[in-house]
């Protein structure tokens, strides 16, 4: 991180990022709910999840997306490098009381754009099924000028 933003010159199409695993437990979901001000009870109450027809509490989709973002921002060396970040939510991440769920994120550089920007496509899986689809980040690897 302290080394600053990754240089676009050293990045090519097909470069792999990760894979990296992230553990999600109930405490993480409660903490995320508070910080993100998202108190939908299906993310912390088994009873609420059951009423909604879910097997158990599920992680916030935005928390899963944020984990994918961590892979990208750590790789880029600067959270401000991500200009455009999008995904579809294609599956749920159940988080039981007995142990954490594992979310595995992997990225691939798929396009080199102008101005030192690159496209990173991400696969995000839990229990070997995709929970995010078409997850894509446009990352600006050109150094930003101070004082913008």
């Amino acid at each position: 991180m302290a080394e600053g933003r990754r240089s676009a010159a050293a990045v090519g199409i097909g470069d792999r990022i990760g894979p990296r695993g992230f553990e999600l437990d109930r405490a993480r979901l409660v903490r995320y709910a508070g910080a993100a001000l998202d108190f939908n009870s299906i993310h912390w109450s088994d009873q609420a999840a059951e009423r909604a027809g879910l097997p158990e509490v599920i992680a916030h989709g935005m928390l899963t997306m944020a984990l994918a973002g961590r892979l990208v921002t750590d790789w880029a060396g600067d959270p401000g490098a991500v200009e455009d970040f999008s995904t579809r939510f294609s599956g749920m991440v159940p988080v039981g009381v007995e142990g954490p769920a594992m979310v595995v994120v992997e990225g691939t550089v798929t396009e080199l754009l102008d101005g030192g920007r690159v496209v990173v496509e991400l696969t995000v899986e839990a229990g070997r099924s995709a929970v995010l689809k078409a997850a894509r980040a446009v990352v600006n690897l050109a150094p930003s000028s101070p004082g913008i």
């Binding site: 600053g4 992230f22 993480r28 910080a35 935005m62 921002t73 970040f85 995904t87 930003s144 004082g147």
Partner: protein, 154 residues
């Protein structure tokens, strides 16, 4: 019941401005388990070219969720939250969100469309500073399960 498509294009009151503090950014970064030092080190943030502590890329969605309650709660729209799941999300930044920003939003129902028996409700939240500097556009697509016109459950 299908969603009320007469509301497509309608703008909603985003509520009060969202003050982004360094403390809130640190809290959010910690909540997603992100221990990158830039979220707590102003000198490092400035060395990276930032005017203040930057927020993680998905933080715009936190702000848009607060400002986007208008359409979610509009009884004329007819959204039944027990049928709703999050379908898609996009954050397009003109620049990062920084500590010290006071953000205002323009909240609009951008589209409602069918996807099988479901409906997809697209809510756009354009965030800018109070001074009018564009910051980011946050697009949230909510899936309203089984409410498409003609659907058995609709």
């Amino acid at each position: 019941m299908p969603l009320n498509r007469a509301l497509v294009g309608r703008s909603y009151d985003p509520g009060p401005p969202f003050d982004v503090s360094r403390q809130k950014i640190r809290e959010f970064a910690a909540a997603i388990g992100d221990e990158a030092p830039v979220y707590a080190d102003l000198e490092l943030a400035r060395a990276l070219g930032h005017r203040d502590i930057p927020a993680p890329p998905t933080f715009g969605s936190v702000v848009s969720l607060q400002m986007g309650q208008g359409p979610r709660r509009d009884p004329r729209l007819g959204l039944d939250y027990s049928r709703v799941v999050h379908g898609e999300q996009r954050i397009e930044g003109s620049r990062p969100i920084y500590a010290g920003d006071t953000l205002v939003g323009e909240v609009t129902i951008a589209s409602i469309r069918n996807a099988g028996g479901n409906e997809l409700l697209e809510i756009l939240c354009a965030l800018a500073t109070e001074a009018g500097e564009p910051v980011c556009r946050v697009t949230s697509v909510l899936v309203s399960r089984g409410t498409a016109p003609g659907s058995d459950r609709g």
